[in-house]
């Protein structure tokens, strides 16, 4: 069944390539339709058992270092009262490692139609207590918009520069907000900074599919409704980028997803894996 749909995907892709060429040459193809050339959802299969979940848990296999207090020396009257600490290595009580990205690396993955209905149409970034909340985000570029708000009594700045996508350097006034769209997927999360408050940091991973999870405070993750069959996954953490382990060389692993739950179990990471 999978084989029979493959050629159709290819053909549509080629048409998009032609359109893009014509556009550069001066034709009037609208920019909106061009983006589709990059973010091509696969053709969904109807059978209910064609989808499976991937779950697991990342554990920091060592004693977590104390999270350092960050230097807060701007807007001190507002930000100085918060206990602002380094968020680059967040280990829970039972060793669970927070903020590990795990995402499908394979090109042209089929997308479960349910996810189109179930996925929120926006991803929220708040500036709260002089930090970005949450610290790690992902966004499905063709489906979701990035909504940025400011809960602090001072203006905040949100600046990021994704490779070959439009750069952002936005002021978010008190009680203000902004909406941003990403035009293309990235291979790795994009760092976000605030030019006013240099201690603030966050990450966002724009993808052209919804198959990504970020581990929670217990180190656990679930990527729901993946297409069955072989897929390649990528793991990434802000400390080192691609998490290079024996089972995950360059942070990559191929696995065959089956209908139902696919549990990767507990993945222990030696502290050295998280050091550059």
């Amino acid at each position: 069944m999978q084989n029979s749909v493959q050629p159709m995907v290819r053909d549509t892709d080629n048409m998009n390539k032609l359109n893009r060429r014509q556009f550069v040459g001066g034709s009037t193809v609208a920019a909106g339709s061009l983006a589709a050339g990059i973010a091509m959802p696969g053709i969904a299969r109807a059978a209910e058992d064609a989808w499976g979940d991937l779950t697991g848990k990342f554990v920091y296999d060592g004693v977590a270092p104390e999270r350092k207090k960050l230097v807060v020396d701007k807007d001190v009257e507002c930000c100085g009262k918060f206990d602002i600490r380094d968020e680059s290595l967040m280990v829970g009580d039972d060793g669970g490692l927070k903020n590990v990205y795990i995402y499908v690396r394979s090109k042209r993955v089929d997308i479960c139609p349910d996810l189109d209905k179930e996925t929120e149409d926006k991803v929220l970034l708040d500036n709260r207590d002089c930090i970005f909340v949450p610290h790690c985000m992902s966004i499905w570029t063709s489906k979701q918009k990035y909504h940025i708000v400011n809960s602090d009594p001072v203006a905040q700045n949100v600046a990021f520069n994704p490779l070959l996508d439009k750069p952002a350097n936005i002021v978010i006034p008190v009680d203000g907000d902004a909406t941003w769209t990403f035009r293309r997927a990235q291979r790795v999360p994009v760092p976000i900074a605030c030019n006013y408050h240099p201690w603030e940091s966050a990450y966002i991973l724009p993808l052209d599919h919804p198959y990504v999870a970020i581990t929670d405070e217990n180190g656990s993750f679930t990527i729901p409704k993946l297409p069955v069959g072989e897929l390649e996954f990528q793991i990434w953490h802000e400390r080192v980028g691609y998490l290079n382990t024996q089972d995950w060389p360059k942070g990559r692993m191929k696995t065959t997803i089956q209908a139902g739950t696919n549990d990767l179990g507990t993945i222990k990471l030696a502290p050295s894996v998280l050091e550059k």
Partner: protein, 380 residues
């Protein structure tokens, strides 16, 4: 080891200075320099270098013989006029304009690391990021060709960038097109480098990978350049006419309003430019996008990181308004654009409305702020 790298980098610059324009003898054609900024040279294999250089040459040719993939919309005739060694033709036309006027500072590859680069603050622009500071287009958009031409005509006051207003229009257009070419080349190279060095699984680069680079990078970026030219009204930030002030008292009111807006917590101008616009805000550690990656958390980290770049880390200075000589131009309209659009590639954000963001200032507010800034500089 890091010292060895620095020595090599210095040697390279010296070599550039002596054997300008390329690091080769006078008889050899110069070549574009691979972009390994931020990477440890020892971590890049010869096979990887060759793959990157060969693909780039296949796409974009050499400094003497530039070429373009089909469909970029760039004007190769103009590029040819700016490329190659300096020469005059029998019909009076000129060739090699980029090397004649630009490469000493901006480098043969447009990497902003020409022979004289280290003598400037700020450094000459590195075109390879595709970011240009002073534009009439929105904060998230490419510049228009006319924006780059304006910079050539006026120069950038207070920096090493001189005015080229004496050049005929045809030569200015050729130089602008060449800068776009170097920029398109540079952004393509960034993408290619991510594939080859970070992803590390595309070697040897076959037809499929090259097609992907062409589609995902070269033609994608070319589209952004083409789009602003074809739909300028969608991208140019309109500048409403400056209000007419019937009396000095009315103007003083606008200046006072401007100062209040400037000082508000909603705008944060003070953070970098200081309470009185003297460029002495509490954010005194600011960097542009070209230097930010060289900055670590500790001074030791910064020193270590900085060694992986051709040019040492350079801090940015927020403008001291009292000095005047505004870099993007001192006309009130220029200053309006700086506040509304911001300065791309720097911490100076867009304060005016843009798609998806209301901004902190209305157009009326921006005029008040501009009047305040002009009142400090003594220019009006």
């Amino acid at each position: 080891m890091p010292d060895a790298i620095r020595t090599i980098q210095r040697a390279f610059l010296v070599c550039l200075a002596l054997a300008f324009p390329g690091c080769k003898s006078a008889n050899e054609s110069p070549s574009f320099r691979i972009n390994l900024e931020g990477r440890h040279p020892a971590e890049v294999s010869q096979t990887q270098r060759d793959a990157i250089n060969q693909t780039m040459e296949e796409f974009f040719g050499t400094p003497d013989k530039p070429r373009l993939p089909e469909g970029t919309g760039l004007d190769l005739d103009r590029i040819m006029m700016a490329a190659g060694p300096v020469a005059g033709n029998a019909d009076g036309t000129q060739q090699g304009l980029f090397r004649q006027h630009c490469a000493t500072c901006h480098g043969i590859s447009g990497d902003g690391a020409g022979a004289l680069a280290t003598t400037f603050n700020p450094y000459p622009r590195d075109f390879r990021r595709g970011t240009f500071k002073y534009t009439t287009t929105r904060a998230d958009a490419k510049p228009l060709r006319s924006d780059l031409q304006r910079t050539l005509l006026r120069g950038i006051p207070g920096t090493g960038m001189p005015s080229f207003s004496e050049l005929p229009t045809g030569q200015l257009e050729a130089l602008v097109e060449y800068v776009v070419y170097l920029s398109l080349r540079g952004e393509t190279e960034q993408y290619l480098i991510q594939l080859v060095l970070d992803e590390g699984e595309y070697l040897p680069l076959g037809t499929d990978a090259k097609e992907m680079i062409l589609e995902d990078a070269t033609l994608w970026v070319a589209e952004q350049w083409a789009d602003v030219e074809q739909n300028p009204n969608e991208y140019i930030v309109p500048v409403p006419p400056r209000p007419v002030y019937a009396s000095d008292a009315q103007f003083a009111e606008s200046v006072a309003r401007g100062k209040r807006l400037y000082s508000s917590k909603d705008a944060q101008c003070v953070q970098c430019h200081g309470p009185d616009g003297a460029g002495d805000g509490e954010d005194d550690e600011i960097y542009d996008d070209w230097n930010k990656p060289k900055k670590g958390v500790t001074p030791e980290q910064t020193a270590k990181l900085s060694r992986l770049y051709t040019l040492p880390i350079q801090k940015l200075r927020a403008r001291d308004f009292r000095e005047g000589a505004f870099r993007g131009g001192s006309n009130p309209e220029d200053l309006y654009r700086r506040v509304h659009i911001g300065i791309k590639g720097t911490p100076m954000p867009a304060a005016g409305p843009q798609p998806g963001a209301k901004g902190v200032f209305t157009p009326q507010d921006i005029w008040d702020v501009v009047n305040y800034v002009l009142s400090l500089s003594g220019e009006d």
